[in-house]
Symmetry: C2
Subunit: 364 residues, 2 copies
């Protein structure tokens, strides 16, 4: 990496985000939810969903394209079903409230489906799996998102990267979290390659004619491909039906991007299924079953060149652990943007702790 | 194709299978379920789950390794949860009964989770999605299966091909069915390539050292790879937790193959989620939403070399339609095996209608 990156303490960035979100009239409690979602993404190495999004969030809240004081409410309910209207609030707030309501209901019915409409980008799906796991619920979490991938055989983005995520409480503080995007790669990686003038691997994207390309700039005019070819397309479609159609939210190309400069609401839809494992078996038995299976997976003979077999989500947990100690790296462009919004709302960006190649406290 | 393949009327094969299954003391009604599952697979072009499996099914039932007269019962229930014990019955029978019970319950609670243990291979997951769709339920269907794919970074099969399938009723007689296996390719295709001495594409499999291989024989000693790399592994794990652990069935390498010559029960686990869409919105609104989205997908500009954009499952529907007219092709080895079991139980295999390259009725 040629750019010198500054590293920040995650607690500093968190406090900064909370403070700034408070300035656009988000309640303290809800500011903490949004800031927590952003910082957790940076800790886990998912920078595309991290604090780099704060400036656009603030802008949209200030202009009320995202409602900073939403009245998240239950629009409809059945014995084991909730339909939540997010009132166009910040995605992490809407999703967190919806999961809270779902957990309460699942305790009675054993399983609950929570459909959410009128929401916005909620960050990493894994956050809500974790929230459910902390209440000893198994979870399926899906969301739609603005167009990013083309249907198989098409050359124009239609579906979002539409993740499906699973969370399984195993009695440890690192539950098993599986977070699958339907795209082969985050669009952010293609943008980065284009900026650096680098090529991208074969199979990642098509150009605007729909031909395979390794040219990152051409790829941005075309579409990122679904993972596993037709399978990723099929998965994106399934997630879209549950998140977009069944909830009465927007779907496919009708979901608006937070980055688009128009007046429409995003109307992102989410779909959650929470399962109280005790409806099937005592919790310790389930937890023990998972831990035993994980132990057996770890014992599978390794393929050539592999040092270990990792459980899904394990790398992210380690990464977060490391960054809590060593800080979160932010590229200069992001730092600059953060400083600008900080100036605008009179909240100074805290000093970075240290720079790459320097000792802690050595710079700024 | 060098081998001359005979083509059979699907109704003839169905009647034949029903008759034979009746000889091993499966009730008429349940024989019809199993035969229907096999023939539907052949109609849809999924030969690996078709009538080629009948001989091994019969053998296992005759020796009681599969229980031909199971007492499929509800072992546990909650307000929106069912745990079904399949009593080691034929997978299609167990799964069909479990879905029936689930539909009834979902009509009351809006969503139901049905865990199934003590089952066997149930054929195509799409069958049970279709069953749910016919009752206007949206469905998620998962099952585990004997080891077929290695964990990412491993070189020994641990998980089954563990499909996850979705079904969405759209008011037509061809609901949207999405059926995703966690493996990049069916193991059957590798077996076929090995038999023919052909190589396989890069990225399909690893050899017994865990190195990528295009040699089909080497691949059979190693493992087929998960689809989308680590993503398919993660998906297989999620399906395994819900189908195997949460139901109290077997999981991973503990699920026995129907082809293995030992005495253990397979103890396959399934996991179904059924959603009554009317808990969210009127059925016509949901159906209309899906049809409208499909219409929009079909209008996406096509990539170079593509004639149309297909909806998941569309190819299978067309294929089934075609084969109902033109017959089901069976390779000589399968015909031979079917004749042998026919002789054993005194049910003659019906004559094939015609052969490739000949007019209908021209041969046998």
């Amino acid at each position: 990496m040629e750019e010198k990156q500054e590293r920040y303490r995650y607690t500093d960035l968190y406090d900064y985000a909370v403070e700034l979100l408070g300035r656009v009239a988000v309640s303290r409690e809800e500011a903490a939810i949004v800031a927590g979602a952003l910082i957790q993404a940076d800790l886990e190495g998912v920078a595309s969903h991290g604090i780099s999004r704060l400036p656009v969030y603030l802008k949209r809240m200030a202009e009320k394209r995202i409602n900073p004081q939403p009245d998240v409410r239950i629009a409809q309910k059945g014995p084991a079903v909730l339909l939540v209207d997010g009132d166009n609030g910040p995605g992490p707030v809407v999703a967190t409230r919806a999961i809270e309501a779902g957990i309460e209901k699942a305790r009675q019915s054993g399983i609950v489906a929570v459909g959410v409409r009128q929401s916005n980008h909620f960050g990493m799906a894994s956050l809500y799996c974790r929230q459910a796991c902390e209440a000893n619920m198994a979870a399926l979490v899906m969301t739609n998102s603005p167009p990013g991938i083309a249907p198989w055989g098409g050359r124009k983005a239609f579906f979002g990267t539409n993740p499906i995520a699973f969370g399984f409480p195993d009695g440890t503080d690192t539950p098993v979290i599986i977070d699958l995007s339907a795209s082969i790669v985050a669009r952010g990686k293609v943008i980065l390659a284009a900026k650096k003038g680098e090529s991208i691997p074969e199979g990642w994207a098509i150009d605007r004619e729909g031909k395979p390309t390794t040219n990152a700039r051409e790829a941005l005019e075309g579409s990122v491909l679904p993972m596993g070819g037709a399978k990723g397309y099929a998965l994106a479609l399934a997630v879209e039906v549950l998140s977009g159609i069944l909830t009465g939210a927007a779907y496919g190309p009708h979901v608006r991007s937070i980055y688009a400069e128009d007046n429409g609401l995003a109307n992102v839809g989410h779909f959650f299924i929470l399962i109280d494992v005790t409806a099937f078996m005592p919790l310790p038995q389930f937890q023990q079953g998972i831990r035993q299976m994980i132990g057996e997976i770890k014992q599978v003979p390794r393929a050539a060149g592999w040092e270990e077999i990792r459980i899904p989500g394990e790398r992210r947990v380690r990464e977060a652990h490391r960054r809590r100690e060593t800080g979160i790296r932010l590229p200069p462009a992001v730092v600059q943007e953060l400083k600008e919004v900080g100036n605008r709302w009179n909240v100074p960006l805290p000093p970075s702790g240290w720079r790459d190649g320097e000792e802690e406290g050595g710079s700024s």
